[in-house]
């Protein structure tokens, strides 16, 4: 292998830059990481040498030596829909602005998947982790504790946070919406969620729904509580099953995914009037719900803000600006529209 400076795959090392600039590698290191620590003349020569040889620092070596990296890991339940996009985008924006990189993993709603990803991320020596789920395997907890890595959970305001939390309360939000429907005069309120098995958020939403019924003095009719898989088609199926039952509801609260949109489109197809025949409320603040006919009453959730604030508190800890645990409740908002 010829010691040609431009051999394919043979990237320039710091010492090549140093040699060309007529200084020691250590000076190059300093010039790159804190320019104020070298003389202006040397800085200029180093920068020139960097450009000349096309030097790209090796963060594997840097990280190994300094015991810190600029990579943050993030684990979301799924990437196949847009629900987590705003949060990912918020995280990404804040991290990149501070010179950090984002590593993303998809655990497929399974805690074992999460455990594997956590192991992989810790192997990369990530500086911090953002976890959407709030349930974890015992082994995952043990690894996180041993590693001592800062963690932010974002899926819901957990009761027993692992470390830091930035989110809103799924239970409070579901309760608020159910009570909102009650205030509007609806008395047989159905609730449709995603499968609650292994999904803490679905369980919390059901809990909030039941709490609201209790507060409102309404009886809980099990026939009015449905769990459906994600997707527009599921929402359509749910509304048909509920409205064609013996005792149909006068309002349906779709507490998950795009179920409400699917139900609405199905009603349009069948000519069922909304909110005349049945009122429809949604949980997720997705864009289409504002533009349908009628537009859908829903909750405005701070998804992007969760990403931004989550990344911020994480960076505060990573960079030593803060030390304690943090729990940030970013709240939610009810958006009343034509569907109720």
């Amino acid at each position: 292998m010829p010691d040609d400076a431009g051999a394919p795959g043979a990237g320039a090392r710091m010492r090549d830059v140093a040699q060309r600039a007529g200084v020691s590698p250590m000076t190059v290191s300093r010039a790159l990481r804190d320019p104020s620590k070298v003389s202006p003349a040397v800085l200029r020569r180093v920068e020139e040498a960097v450009r000349a040889v096309g030097y790209v620092p090796n963060r594997l070596a840097g990280g190994l030596s300094s015991m810190r990296t600029n990579v943050v890991g993030m684990i979301v339940p799924s990437l196949d829909n847009s629900l987590y996009s705003p949060t990912i985008q918020g995280v990404s924006a804040v991290l990149h602005a501070s010179g950090y990189q984002l590593m993303i993993g998809e655990c497929g709603h399974r805690v074992e998947g999460e455990e594997g990803l956590i192991a992989a991320f810790l192997a990369q020596r990530v500086a911090g982790l953002m976890l959407h789920d709030t349930r974890h395997t015992a082994e995952a907890l043990a690894m996180l504790r041993r590693a001592g890595v800062p963690v932010v959970e974002t899926g819901t305001l957990a009761l027993d946070p692992l470390d830091m939390v930035v989110s809103y309360s799924n239970e409070a939000a579901a309760q608020a919406m159910t009570l909102h429907l009650h205030r509007l005069g609806y008395r047989r309120i159905a609730c449709v969620t995603l499968p609650s098995a292994g999904n803490e958020r679905s369980r919390e939403r059901q809990k909030g729904y039941r709490a609201a019924l209790a507060v409102a003095g309404l009886a809980l009719d099990p026939a009015l509580v449905l769990e459906m898989p994600p997707g527009l088609a599921s929402g359509a199926e749910a509304v048909v099953r509920l409205l064609q039952s013996a005792a149909p509801p006068d309002a349906i609260f779709f507490a998950g995914d795009v179920l409400a949109a699917g139900a609405l489109f199905e009603c349009q197809r069948r000519g069922w009037d909304i909110p005349g025949q049945v009122a429809v409320a949604a949980f997720d603040d997705i864009d289409i719900l504002r533009h349908t006919v009628p537009p859908v009453t829903t909750l405005r959730l701070p998804r992007a803000e969760i990403g931004r604030r989550g990344a911020e508190v994480l960076l505060d800890r990573i960079e030593g600006r803060a030390t304690g645990r943090v729990a940030v409740d970013l709240g939610f908002e009810i958006i009343q529209r034509g569907s109720t």
Copy 2:
């Protein structure tokens, strides 16, 4: 903070495992990376020691030593909508199945943003890169060439691919849809795209539209070509402007984002009949377009497949199973529905 075996952040190293298992670090390394290279008895002792000390390998060190990593970088124009989700998910699934990690960057549709991310990814010594854009700065190209990293471009079938390409032809797709509208009898066909400045895909789609008009023998009316920013509201605005003009179109081809859905909802609100008053066709195969009333004619693009195949050809190169350049055309499909 419970301070147990090991100071905070002081994870077990390979030599701790080795000591506990009564072997050398090298044997541990082998046991972990290729169990068939050590005796069964030693393997068992090593595995036990790994569990006992909670060992998590350090891939920074491993990567530095072996000169290879298991991280792939991916750069998308934006993360704030669901358009790239299927592709990301496809990439993620294939990578994780092969033990690779995905690092994601969002360049905000700017080539300078892409350049910065490429530099950051190369600094992490990524094993390969997936780039959605097909336009890059000169400096980015130089860095990629010097690094010799395998690259897959996915945004469109580029004429002069940097390395490998897995995509479909935006131009061919736009031409096909325009001709489809012509075959259906429409004669004044409008075309709405995202801003073409800095967006090669928008330009290609306009090119395909114009090519189709030429083939069909229709004149190009500049008043029928609009560029709008992304978003449902833009689609609504576009349809209003076009239909309230002096010479309105009889069909509109929305070649970007969720513009078609926005237009459709606006027509519902105003009581404009689709396709009676105006036909509507879309480019993106997003879920809602199948469920609206009427459902929207659109192209089915192989977005998830692009991610999967892209990751596959990338891994083939990374792992030395293939060497040459590859250009995979995954094609597209026209889905005729009620809106045309």
